[in-house]
């Protein structure tokens, strides 16, 4: 009897942990980032969108507020080294042609985008320069060199609002991404929407479900202590529901990336963010 009472009290305190996104403000270097804004018109089912930062613990949140504490900056520094590093048969570095990496300010907000009829992600642009202009080997989509470079380039847009193009030539890619978002897959038979649209704000075992926004990528995860690409995260979520993931850098994930980016229109780019 007493034991039972004790147990129900213990569980009672567990379930009160049920809080949705918090109301904390993300300020980095004196600049306030937009972690909450009105949902874009194409999203019918909710009014407000939130950055994944708003669903993390106080301690995890704090790591992102100061670049000296943010473990992702070790990798941003590696990106700076790579920027200067000569590689490939043309004997060039990124810095040989691009005067300053700061010139990429704003680029992160617009990607992925359609170019010559194809949907291209930042990784494609980087590897395009490596293979066609430097005569160097392409980097692995989610490898350390690539995420270091996409973090460095993305950082130049930090604080700017996500604003991908979804009409015109982009429309068919966007439609395809949307379809994938709502399609159930895997032995567990779930869609992205089941967790990130219908259940954000609640706990799924030890994880606090967010809206699955991609404004902070590549993201440093405490879980694996490295930078994680957008497609690597998609892959992880698919494997968790025991689904065969699509290929990193493939058409499906790029379409999904465009669609997810569009669900976050107006949120600040947070690259490189910190998550658990």
């Amino acid at each position: 009897m007493n034991l039972k009472l004790w147990i129900s009290l213990a569980v009672g305190s567990l379930s009160t942990a049920a809080i949705a996104q918090d109301s904390n403000e993300l300020v980095i270097d004196g600049e306030t980032l937009v972690t909450e804004t009105a949902a874009p018109a194409h999203l019918e089912d909710f009014d407000t969108i939130y950055s994944g930062w708003r669903f993390r613990s106080r301690e995890t949140q704090a790591l992102e507020t100061d670049d000296f504490d943010n473990p992702a900056f070790v990798f941003v520094d590696q990106g700076l080294d790579l920027w200067e590093e000569v590689d490939g048969s043309a004997g060039k570095a990124c810095a040989s042609c691009h005067e300053d990496v700061e010139d990429f300010a704003g680029l992160r907000t617009q990607l992925p985008r359609v170019q010559d009829g194809e949907l291209v992600a930042m990784e494609d642009l980087v590897n395009g320069c490596r293979t066609e202009r430097m005569g160097a080997e392409p980097w692995k989509w989610s490898g350390g060199n690539m995420t270091a470079m996409t973090a460095l380039i993305g950082l130049q847009s930090r604080g700017m609002p996500v604003g991908v193009k979804i009409d015109g030539e982009a429309a068919p890619f966007w439609e395809k991404g949307k379809e994938l978002y709502y399609t159930r897959v895997g032995q567990l038979d779930m869609a992205c929407s089941n967790c990130h649209e219908n259940n954000y704000g609640v706990m799924i075992r030890a994880d606090h479900l967010s809206q699955g926004q991609i404004n902070g990528f590549p993201t440093y995860r405490l879980k694996n202590a490295k930078l994680n690409s957008i497609h690597a995260r998609f892959k992880g979520c698919m494997k968790n529901i025991r689904a065969e993931p699509f290929k990193e850098g493939g058409d499906e994930f790029k379409a999904l990336e465009l669609y997810l980016a569009s669900r976050g229109q107006g949120l600040s780019v947070e690259t490189p963010s910190v998550r658990n």
């Binding site: 569980v11 379930s15 895997g186 032995q187 567990l188 967790c195 075992r205 030890a206 689904a243």
Partner: protein, 151 residues
Amino acid sequence: MKRAIGLAAIAAMTVSAALAETVAPTNVTLADGVIEASLTGQPGDPVEGRKVFANRKQGNCLACHVNSDLSEEIFHGEVGPPIDGVADRWSAGELRAIVTNSKMVFEGTIMPAFYIDSGYERPLEDFAGKSILSAQQVEDVVAYLMTLKEE
């Protein structure tokens, strides 16, 4: 010696009899949200069922349901309703249907169907053509759920 062989033979017979009575996922009849008969022809074991409920590689029911009876586990998910007192709300036949194929009971639910081996897309190779739980595990979970009474 002879006796031991005799016992082993009897045990083997019982096992094969049990196997023969196990209903394959595709042969389950779920009518009006109820599956009356045990999927194995045997009663489930509530002690095993409690383990299946918590185990992340098996039921992982705790991912989505708060359960006071498992207060020794730290993290309880909140995607579904708390499971406390579930036997006061549902019969064994109804619970068997919910665990076997929740989608036939709650339309469009996020809760996985635990005893189907087809009808889902792009499964990871290791899981293709398999159900999440075995028939016996479903019975064990149902037996466990039947112990969760509050009234």
